[in-house]
Amino acid sequence: MPSSDVLWNLPLVRQKIFYPGQFGVPGTDSERGLRTDVNGTVFYVDPNASGVTDLRDGTDPECPLQTVAAALTHCQPYRNDVIAVMANGAWQYGENLYRTTPVTEQITVTVPGVRIVGLYPPGSVGVPWVPTANGGVMITVEALDVLIEGFAFTSGTYSGDAIYAEWDGATKFADNLTVRNCVFDDTVDKAIQLEYAWYCDIHHNWFVECDEHGVYIDPAGSGAAYSHIHDNIFHDCAVAMALSGLDNSWVVENIVYNSSAQSGAAATDEGILTTGGQSNIVARNIISCLLPVPANGDYDDLNTAAATDAWIGNELMNGPSVTNPT
């Protein structure tokens, strides 16, 4: 399961202060609890905690904040701050008896260098996160160097998108985004959308039957570049990767299953599309289609390459590809 790869020591225990700080010994009076970095602060979020509120500093896991939005207001740029979101039992197929409140937020990340991590028992899908309204975007990233991991994005009773990252060079700078170890389930519309965001790393996620797109770049938008999309599973999303305008990027070792293509039905550009872009490597992906026939659902139907791409050794149902799909 993706979230079991989140690197974190569990359980999280705040380092209690048993003695006053020792004069002349820096750090002995620290009240900031467990840290991952000499500078960074960990802010704990747990909407299921008893008496939880946002009127706290959030640094004590026994007195967590209620919302990620509140935690973001405490973060500082490039202090290596971490927002640690505790597990909940809101996964749709659970008993719904314990800790049943999912993360229910639509946040905008404007603090660069922040890590937002869902902490969940190994083997789980991740910390469930749902939008607050139809069409909502659960996480909008407008800052540099943001890392998101360990969540199960699901729309719950609403229809919505999971992550939208934008760079406009004025107020939005979502380059260098990392999204890893997350699940995007069958109620999510667009799982990850990039708009002019460069140097993004999207890996080890599951995109399961997303209603619209796994990874999406708007063809009317500004594309994306220098990004690495690898080791993900795209299982029967309406469209796995619509990457219009993707440049100089690497799409490698993903698994793409499309039921229409597998059965020989029409699946035009529902796999991987990079038209409008240039100079991408698309290699060693496993794709549920046949080599070019031509026919409905074959390699050329399911995928389309940019002219200057190099599509190398993608494993199809009847052998490896040797051409760029057209």
Binding site: W167, D168, G169, A170, E195, Y196, W198, D218, A220, G221, S222, G223, A225, G245, D247
Partner: protein, 61 residues
């Protein structure tokens, strides 16, 4: 900020072309594609406009 925006656009366009576009507020391919030829013509020569449109065609409405 203008320099950063120009640097990104310069991935596709000569800085000589990218700079006036950014100065005029066309800071991304998205905005250039959304602009009309007439709008861009106020900023660029006809030759440069042709170059830009070869890379970022106008959105079809």
């Amino acid at each position: 900020m203008t320099q950063k925006q120009t640097d990104k656009l310069a991935k596709w366009l000569d800085v000589r072309i990218a700079s006036p576009l950014v100065e005029a507020g066309y800071t991304s391919p998205k905005l250039i594609k959304a602009a009309t030829d007439e709008d861009l013509g106020d900023v660029l020569s006809q030759e440069d406009l042709s170059t830009v449109r070869g890379i970022f065609p106008e959105n079809q409405s």
